[in-house]
Amino acid sequence: MAAVATCGGDAGSAGSAVATASKSNVTSFQRRGPRASGTNDSGPRLVSITGTRPSVRNGQLLVSTGLPALDQLLGGGLAVGTVLLIEEDKYNIYSSLLFKYFLAEGIVNGHTLLVASANEDPANILQELPAPLLDDNCKKEFDEDVYNRKTPESNIKMKIAWRYQLLPKMEIGPVSSSRFGHYYDASKRIPQELIEASKWHGFFLPEKIPSTLKVEPCSLTHGYIKLLQFIQNIIYEEGFDGSNPQKKQKNILRIGIQNLGSPLWGDDICCTENGDSSHSLTKFLYVLRGLLRTSLSVCIITMPTHLIQNKAVIAHITNLSDIVVGLESFIGSERETNPLYKDYHGLIHIRQIPRLNNLVCDESDVKDLGFKLKRKLFTIEVDSISL
């Protein structure tokens, strides 16, 4: 594996680094390269967790976001211990869809879910998750889709714009080898038995009792304090931070927080420019990231950044998150009727990708990406119009 090859020079120190790290708290940034049978090392063999795979670049443990096309753009997947921030589109249609794909992926992989929302009951959110497409049914349907797309184009060799043929095509078929990344049918609901078989915790802000934490009253908004306590409680009690070593099977905790920063959380960042709780959200993000870095969890947050009045705060939030993806939908804008954009429902901007354990990051070469939602597929493609 490439991960072992790159650390071939200092395999001894890597092994000892993992050994010492495992004695202290579990961090997700250990080098979890798959130990090929050829190497004889003294490090502990890490049991692989379902739904994860090590990154090709540095052995970092990755989970799928639920959208294989997005995984590819992020360098293989979402690193465990990081925060994925989605800047919502104006009417919160596609961002909530990405949110649901993320949770559905967790259910399919058997991960534990933690769903937090201030405006919708988590149980209702889970009912609305899309149904997964299992390999035997979907292969036929994909071939149909691909065939339909290919027929008008395959006969036309682009003689004038010959460079377009060299563009990388985003992979849209199911990944054949492993169960990393699944496809979902947005028109069907997830089967009830899958939800019941999964383990999930819901945080619905209007229902929570007042907190008992003795924090000075105005340091963070009340809703954020309760949410942080809840998350920390779950992480500690279920042993995601390595605190219960006798737990036999390691698992990932997928945290989903919806509409963070909206006034329903008690935050006025979307209402005024210099409010009282102007640093509440950034402090929340900082402590949340601290919790994630020391546990086997991954978090998705959707945030209505288009409503935030103070633009400097958006820069702060971007710096405090790991991956930032912005969605811009064409609904209601003049681009909806623009014939150039008729193939797409919106644009997707990858604003930030982290450089974890590395000097470089897997930045995609292509920056103009459009997305469209077909019945079974949320595809992300190179926006060839703007080239």
Binding site: K214, S219, K283, L356, L359
Partner: protein, 266 residues
């Protein structure tokens, strides 16, 4: 450390200058490779380093450090490196009541606090310990990064005060160096950040500014580095020396070349 950057800055770990404040700043790009450079540079120069890492975890710096030839775990064990891991400490200070002031005490405070506990931590970490010392050359304070402190509610004045105290102790009293990273928000109007950046620019001896290319993303040239040598204490009639290079970051090193002379273009 990157040998090419050492050549550009005309230093080596053996004969680096002391008593200097170096300001790293990045605009529209990620300047963290400079932090990794200075961390490994000073560890190789056998200095006692206090690293206030507010934005990433220890293992991140450790793994990159191994690529650059330093072992942070061992440096920490033998006392050469004092590492404050901001993310982990923030969880401790937030969820558990503390008896004595914690370096990140300001997270619990409602109003804009001050950084006195953090300064006490730095001073404690870098103070020379008796004569039976392992013989570190001089102390170095490294902060990554200061803009996080602003986003967590501290004012620019509080951060400038903290740096002032650190400079007085580390640079003047202990004859060491201070290296800090600040993000430049660019066209986004962030007053506090601008105050901080301007204030530090006037106090520093060396400014390294990593900028993204004005024309946008490029696979072969990741950005442009501007190096500015200054003499804050002397009169400003002398022109400060400034150089500009473009760079490309690779897996284990960074290559620098003159503007427009990227190997991909030639």
């Amino acid at each position: 450390m990157f040998p090419e950057l050492n050549n550009l800055l005309n230093t080596t770990p053996d004969r680096a200058e002391q008593g200097k404040l170096t300001l790293l700043c990045d605009a529209k790009t990620d300047g963290s490779f400079l932090v990794h450079h200075f961390l490994s540079f000073y560890l190789k120069a056998n200095c006692k380093v206090c690293f206030v890492a507010l934005i990433q975890s220890f293992s991140h710096y450790n793994i990159v450090g191994q690529k650059l030839g330093v072992n942070l775990t061992m440096a920490r064990e033998r006392g050469q490196l004092v590492f404050l891991e901001g993310l982990k400490s923030a969880v401790d200070v937030f969820f558990q009541p503390q008896e004595k002031p914690h370096p990140l005490q300001f997270l619990r405070e409602a109003n804009a606090g001050n950084l006195k506990p953090l300064f006490e931590f730095v001073r404690e970490a870098l103070k020379p310990v008796g004569s039976g010392e392992a013989g570190w050359t001089y102390p170095v304070l490294l902060v990554d990064d200061l803009s996080v402190l602003l986003s967590l509610g501290l004012g620019a004045v509080a951060v400038l005060d903290f740096i002032h105290y650190c400079r007085a102790t580390v640079c003047w009293e202990l004859k060491g160096n201070v290296v800090v990273l600040v993000h430049d928000s660019g066209d986004v109007e962030d007053e506090e950040n601008d105050i901080l950046l301007n204030g530090l620019s006037h106090q520093s001896h060396l400014i390294l500014r990593a900028e993204g290319l004005a024309t946008g993303f490029c696979r072969d040239v990741h950005g442009q580095l501007r190096i500015l040598w200054r003499r804050p204490s002397q009169s400003t009639s002398q022109r400060d020396q400034s150089l500009t290079y473009q760079y490309k970051i690779q897996d284990r090193s960074v290559s620098f070349f003159a503007k427009g002379m990227s190997p991909a273009v030639l």
